[in-house]
């Protein structure tokens, strides 16, 4: 006589549900911290240096981040056959970001390859980047186009 499968307990169901939900969620991994022993030398200044300081309003900074998260998602990796330039293009720091307030709750964000960035191989490339219209009322991408 075959044994019948015992009914799943409540805790098992919760565990399965948790696993399924966490697999569907897209919470990015927190940034890596330098281990304390490596960071022991570091001391904060009393104030941020004035030279080169930029203050970006919070809404604008958030719009920039939202656009960049779409343009080049964290963890995005080029293919295994990628060239050095492909690898360079897959790095966020290769891009400059400009932003301007638009009508209403709109913020324009332009992402473009930085001057002098990723010039290996075939030299300067034209129109690598995108312009986003970010709806800051609901934090959604209203439109995007490239170039």
């Amino acid at each position: 006589m075959a044994k019948s499968r015992p009914p799943a307990s409540n805790s098992t169901c919760i565990l399965i549900l948790y696993g399924a939900l966490s697999a569907c969620s897209h919470v990015p991994a927190p940034p890596a911290y330098v281990p304390p022993e490596e960071a022991a030398w570091f001391k904060f200044p009393y104030e941020l240096p004035e030279a080169g300081k930029k203050t970006v309003p919070g809404a604008m900074a958030t719009a920039m981040q939202l656009a960049m998260d779409d343009f080049l998602p964290r963890g995005w990796k080029p293919s295994r056959s990628a060239t050095p330039q492909d690898i360079c293009l897959a790095q966020r720091q290769s891009y400059d970001i400009a932003a301007s307030p638009g009508p209403g709750s709109l913020i324009w964000v332009n992402i473009s390859l930085g001057d002098g960035a990723c010039t290996w191989g075939s030299g300067p490339i034209l129109d690598m980047g995108a312009t986003y219209a970010i709806d800051t009322a609901q934090w959604r991408v209203l439109a995007v186009r490239s170039p």
Binding site: L89, L113, R145
Partner: protein, 216 residues
């Protein structure tokens, strides 16, 4: 020993004097191709483009470019569009020619830029002789899409000027004047004339920042 040293020195100096590979040359490239990459990774294009009638008036060549490029696959398809880069050149005979357009660019990059970027060609191959590129040209596969700030960046200029057009055939010309103190100039083609729509002040040349003239 001394003669060997002199020989090595002479050959070294000769190497320096010869400088880098010329920017345009008729080196062997595959006959069946209209564009490609040289072993150094730089883009070459073949010329002349039969779709464009050569002329002693470079503007007559420019006026033919947009309709010809827009007839190419996906040239107006916006987010599914294709950008093409080419060159305007002479053979030293006072006649201007257009090269074939090249779609070569970054096709697997991040974001929505795929196929909507291109490398301006460094070499124009014309079997008739040595070419002298004067300008590059490229399209944007969108309407109302002018020269971008990075299109105007001095680090991205290869030749004397740059021609760009959108899917409505609004043609712009950038004369960066990087080798002289004159301001950079941005023109728009209207009724077969160039209208100066903006200047790039000498202090703004490093950024390609345009100050409008009011002729918008």
């Amino acid at each position: 020993m001394r003669s060997l040293a002199v020989l090595l020195l002479a050959s070294g100096l000769l190497g320096c004097a010869m400088g880098p590979e010329p920017m345009s040359e008729s080196t062997v490239v595959p006959q069946e191709q209209d564009y490609g990459l040289k072993p150094n990774g730089l883009v070459w294009v073949r010329g002349p483009w039969a779709a464009i009638q050569p002329s002693r008036d470079v503007d007559e060549v420019i006026d033919q470019l947009c309709p010809a490029v827009l007839a190419l696959p996906r040239a107006t398809l916006k987010e599914y569009g294709q950008e093409y880069c080419g060159a305007i050149y002479t053979l030293g005979d006072g006649i201007y020619y257009a090269s074939m357009p090249s779609p070569l660019g970054v096709s697997e990059g991040p974001g929505p830029s795929k196929s909507k970027n291109c490398y301006p060609p460094r070499y124009v191959i014309d079997e008739r002789g040595r070419t002298s590129p004067k300008a590059d040209y490229h399209n944007h596969p969108w309407p109302a899409s002018r020269l971008s700030e990075k299109d105007r960046s001095p680090l991205r200029q290869l030749w004397q000027y740059r021609v760009q057009f959108d899917s409505l055939c609004t043609i712009q010309k950038l004369v960066p004047n990087l080798d002289n103190p004159r301001p950079g100039e941005v023109y728009e083609r209207r009724s077969r004339s160039w209208v100066l729509t903006g200047i790039i002040k000498p202090e703004d040349k490093p950024y390609g920042k345009v100050t409008p003239t009011g002729e918008q």
